[in-house]
Symmetry: D2
Subunit: 275 residues, 4 copies
Amino acid sequence: MTASWSSSVSRVDSDKVFIRGYDLEQLIGGQSFTASCFLLLRGRIPTPAEVRTLDAVLNAVLDYALLKPGTVAARYAVSANPSMVAGIATAVLSVGKFTLAPEDTGHFILDAHARYVASGRSLEEVAVDIVADARSRKTRIPGLGHPRFKRVDPRAQRLRDIAVTEGLWGERAQLYELVHRAFTEATGQHEIPINDVGMMAVVLLELGFTPEEMTGLAVLSTLPGVIAHISEELQSGRIIRVVPDELVDYSDDRHDDLAAGLRDAGWPADDNEHQ
Amino acid sequence: MTASWSSSVSRVDSDKVFIRGYDLEQLIGGQSFTASCFLLLRGRIPTPAEVRTLDAVLNAVLDYALLKPGTVAARYAVSANPSMVAGIATAVLSVGKFTLAPEDTGHFILDAHARYVASGRSLEEVAVDIVADARSRKTRIPGLGHPRFKRVDPRAQRLRDIAVTEGLWGERAQLYELVHRAFTEATGQHEIPINDVGMMAVVLLELGFTPEEMTGLAVLSTLPGVIAHISEELQSGRIIRVVPDELVDYSDDRHDDLAAGLRDAGWPADDNEHQ
Amino acid sequence: MTASWSSSVSRVDSDKVFIRGYDLEQLIGGQSFTASCFLLLRGRIPTPAEVRTLDAVLNAVLDYALLKPGTVAARYAVSANPSMVAGIATAVLSVGKFTLAPEDTGHFILDAHARYVASGRSLEEVAVDIVADARSRKTRIPGLGHPRFKRVDPRAQRLRDIAVTEGLWGERAQLYELVHRAFTEATGQHEIPINDVGMMAVVLLELGFTPEEMTGLAVLSTLPGVIAHISEELQSGRIIRVVPDELVDYSDDRHDDLAAGLRDAGWPADDNEHQ
Amino acid sequence: MTASWSSSVSRVDSDKVFIRGYDLEQLIGGQSFTASCFLLLRGRIPTPAEVRTLDAVLNAVLDYALLKPGTVAARYAVSANPSMVAGIATAVLSVGKFTLAPEDTGHFILDAHARYVASGRSLEEVAVDIVADARSRKTRIPGLGHPRFKRVDPRAQRLRDIAVTEGLWGERAQLYELVHRAFTEATGQHEIPINDVGMMAVVLLELGFTPEEMTGLAVLSTLPGVIAHISEELQSGRIIRVVPDELVDYSDDRHDDLAAGLRDAGWPADDNEHQ
């Protein structure tokens, strides 16, 4: 039977584990978790600049109180099923279209850059075109805007500064910033910043990650906060958290008689037990 | 290479699917979903009495408003990640120790019945012993008590009536009821009923399911409600549901200066960037 | 504080549970699980024809041996974490773009029908146009084709017959069939059938469900099989299922010396421990 | 309405995010992700020794090829539902009783140490007693044994060396080692080592984490490998991974006639459509 799987991530060889070809025993104590994270995904040892930048990215969305749906969902979950594993999986599943998924921005930037490369025109001109197109097709430019932060998302700004300092600010990052500028100018909405998740995408692209890996890293970066919240909930001893009735507008049409409802729906009166 | 898997659940044979040996094409339109559910798990066609009883069990915990953590968790999840699949998985993960897991009661009854069989004594005597043991070891008897229902959980009572009527009320069911009676008499807590999940376990055991399958069926039975809530949330257009600040007591010690914190923790002042 | 939630699915009122306004105690033993499923989602008691048709849909994809990724994933999961709940959630998470998600077909049909309504032309003409557009834009028409079934997917055919017999075969169903016919004629690929998931979408649309609810019902319909497989795996006693080495083509570049790798990546030799 | 939640993990204050009281903007670029992980869970800035030790723990189980059920489950999942988020949640759900859950060992050590403190006897004596008790009650001592590694799990050994070097090897760690020694002596099974997950528990306990947090950190530490495998699977373009038929021993009793089966189960011949 031929091999139906192939993998170059790791290998277990008699009594040794190799991670991208490196002996795991040497990695333990040999480099930081952030560096190993880069090694596992990119397949090579990162430079110090890459580790410092990835560390900054992983710190960018550490936690966001009870204003992040996944955290709240996880706390509800473990109040009924007191399991760290179930709680973490719950929080992970709230990552998607509206939160913490830089992959949309990642794909947007890659597409924009491919358009630039094919165009033979300047970054500025292409950025203006892209914004005009998006506006005419009424599509959203991902990675922009935040409910709390106006003009500048300070976390995004900090991330940008570090990437620039570390020399990881290339053509694609510049193009996305030009798109942002073209957007605010075209719409007059100067208060709309590049948000934290958008900037994560920019910097992770410079570090060589795919859009899907970006979402994976975003999940990873929020996990310490998730674990902390689940631990706090478990230690609170709270059991079966519910939504208090006074916060809910329940509406229903009361039907006093199921038999009447069944008859009206065409069920024979004597046959109810066989339905 | 020898087979590393074995299964008797279903088989796909060129252009036919067989479910426990029955042609799927015949099952479509040939019997109810509830009957197929029994067939898949028990491996044989159920009797009419078994289908009516299983139907009753599957109706017993259809929904419980926003008073069930899994429902709330799922609605938070899809407000951020608008995906039916993610929402369902989230709701499933809230099933556990404190909600909707009849497997604990199932194992309890099986153990109690094995003790009865080995004892050569009456069901009543064994029930009294079991309660005495549980009280002396301070262990909980699963399946008893409900925050809203006193003396009788009407859903449980209805389920019991149907199982009795259908002739599915055997020795193990009787033993669990005697344990319940011995418990209320020993403690004087006469308001504590057998709850819906406890009664599900009793009846599903009479139908021949394993404790783990009981939990699976409990999950299945709540799924229509879960789907309805997720659909309602998705159609509401609500994005990124959070916990309003006025419902949270946030507490933290504010530290104005990270550099000072690092220094106090023993980090060399000039090496912060290398941490 | 104003209500931040609203729901009409169910309500718990002192000691009663109401499902879409009906007393849960009456539903237990009062109607089938399939009928309650319809009630929860559509908000009204179904007719006998609707229950028979929904029962057929729920039987259409009962199980598919170890040829369905979610089943296999769930069996791997419970070999490490022997939990019914974790196993079910795992299987649910494998439902998506390439399997069991009728929502894509549902949205496609709704869009096609809206185009028909706006066009003032015949169903046939609109179907031909839609196929021509899809081919020119190289987009996929969802719900067509199956790796095992040619010309006809017998499960889909059975489902169609039942819906037609029950009088649940309207304009949208006809339009989708015309799209299928236009597609096979335009491409000459006459062996491509409407598959089971595509036909589920057609019929569930006739029953009034939203595309997202369709995916929820598809998940529900596979759950008995999932529970059966997990139960079989748990009872097998198999612990920590892996992929045997002979089935994997592992490839890596072996690096004997981490220190050399770090040096090459620009890390100062004496600072490795601080990375 | 009074607050129904309380949390001290983080807080969002107008346009600032505070993590355990520290300004998130300062943390980005101010310390490593590993240090922030400690801060989030323990509520204070870690010392350099604590960061080095936690980094070692997080490197200890980076990846384990296709010999870890969660990795395989995740690759099956994304072959059907090509979503990084669904894949990660799938892998998380395979963490449990038989893999990667140091919480059992954590609870065991805490209980053992409480027994020691209460006993007034030596660590050695208590360790011998604990092993004798476990053997007489036939309970498993968690954290011991590995299918590949005999006498020493090299990853565990490396972790131990680092913890000792960093001065994080206290009474509880010593007690667990004495339990291990008493076990191998009592049973004569000298080849059984403390495994990687057992040693993670020992070291994480010294770092002050709760057993549940240990499992959270174990999940976190495997995430880079999980993301790498999912990315590899997504990039492979493999769709709908299945188990090849030649690897499965399918068994079923073929039933050619559903009608006969229904009749035998007691269903009236003319009533099949009402089942």
